[in-house]
């Protein structure tokens, strides 16, 4: 899965997600990626979040929506992602998920559980190349 967030100079805020799904899934299965609030969520003036991981679990907790809700209450992007992931209680054995978020001021953060490593790719004006933000799980 890839989840993307973009903010434009006109105040536009958008998320996009796409995936080929889990390998060897039951035909017809849909994961979190296509579900608004699960794979991604954006609210101008607050921020946006996108997720990746075990879509069958992630979609039950609407973690992107939860992260944006946390930011609306004043949490930083990293704290918002941590709080959202913490709502997966109890985490199923082997569960792995990650969130990346941006607040209205352009601050970036993320959180993850179960992955060996997770990174967020970031690009801003003046940067010749994207930078990679490591997120410890």
């Amino acid at each position: 899965t890839i989840g993307m967030v973009a903010m434009d100079a006109g105040g536009g805020l958008a998320v996009g997600t796409t995936t080929n799904g889990a390998a060897h899934r039951v035909p017809g299965r849909v994961g979190d990626t296509a579900v608004v609030g699960a794979g991604g969520y954006a609210k101008a003036g607050v921020g946006a979040a996108v997720g990746t991981g075990d879509g069958d679990i992630l979609m039950r907790y609407l973690l992107a929506f939860a992260a944006v809700s946390e930011m609306s209450l004043g949490a930083s992007p990293e704290a918002a992602c941590r709080a959202a992931l913490a709502s997966v209680r109890p985490p199923p054995s082997g569960f792995h998920g990650a969130l990346a978020a941006v607040d209205a001021d352009g601050n970036v953060g993320g959180a993850c559980i179960g992955f060996d490593s997770f990174q967020i790719s970031v690009m801003r004006p003046g940067m010749p190349e994207p930078s990679l933000l490591p997120v410890p799980c």
Binding site: A6, A9, G12, T19, P27, V36, Q119
Partner: protein, 182 residues
């Protein structure tokens, strides 16, 4: 119109170190100034990039050997959403999601009917399966269809391929989730 001060931050981020998608999104943002255009362009790049096995066509076939796409776009200003799910045969899934947003009053279209909608909107039908996905699927079949997402079925899905039918008893163990991911 949603106007913001000139100091509005401008940026693109994405999950994972998929920097070609980041570059594509940022290039679109620089070209059009639209956040929606940016995320569409970044996701399109990823859908076509064969090195991104968890995103692109030609990877992650389902039990029947078919590759399908799930995709979603959301405009955080207007709160409009477009999505497609379990959609076969259309490479530009995220652009079809945008068409759902902009050319219907709906939020999500699924399966073969989503592909039919895409064709109506001018997208070309083309299999998402490749020799690679076919080889992956054959290897999975030859390995007794492991790993497997079925449970409480006969024959037992932890060591047998289907076709499956409901088992007479059900356990409450949801199983280990480390079967792979989206």
């Amino acid at each position: 119109m949603h106007q913001q001060p000139a100091s509005q931050p401008v940026l693109v981020i994405n999950t994972w170190p998929f920097v070609n998608a980041t570059r594509a999104a940022f290039a679109a943002l620089s070209r059009t100034g639209s956040a929606l255009d940016a995320v569409e362009a970044g996701c399109l790049q990823a859908e076509a990039d064969q090195s991104l096995e968890s995103v692109s066509y030609g990877h992650h076939p389902d039990e029947a050997g078919n590759v399908t796409f799930d995709a979603m776009l959301m405009n955080g200003v207007t709160m409009e959403v477009g999505a497609v799910a379990a959609m076969p045969d259309i490479l530009e899934a995220v652009s079809v999601a945008r068409a759902v947003m902009e050319r219907t009053g709906h939020t999500m279209l699924v399966g073969d009917r989503a592909a039919d909608f895409a064709v109506e909107m001018g997208f070309k039908r083309r299999s998402l399966n490749t020799d690679r996905s076919a080889a992956d699927w054959r290897q999975w079949r030859s390995g007794n269809c492991q790993p497997n997402f079925r449970r409480n079925v006969q024959p037992p899905a932890d060591h047998s391929c289907g076709p499956y039918r409901p088992a007479s008893s059900r356990d409450s163990n949801p199983g280990n989730r480390r079967l792979g991911h989206d």
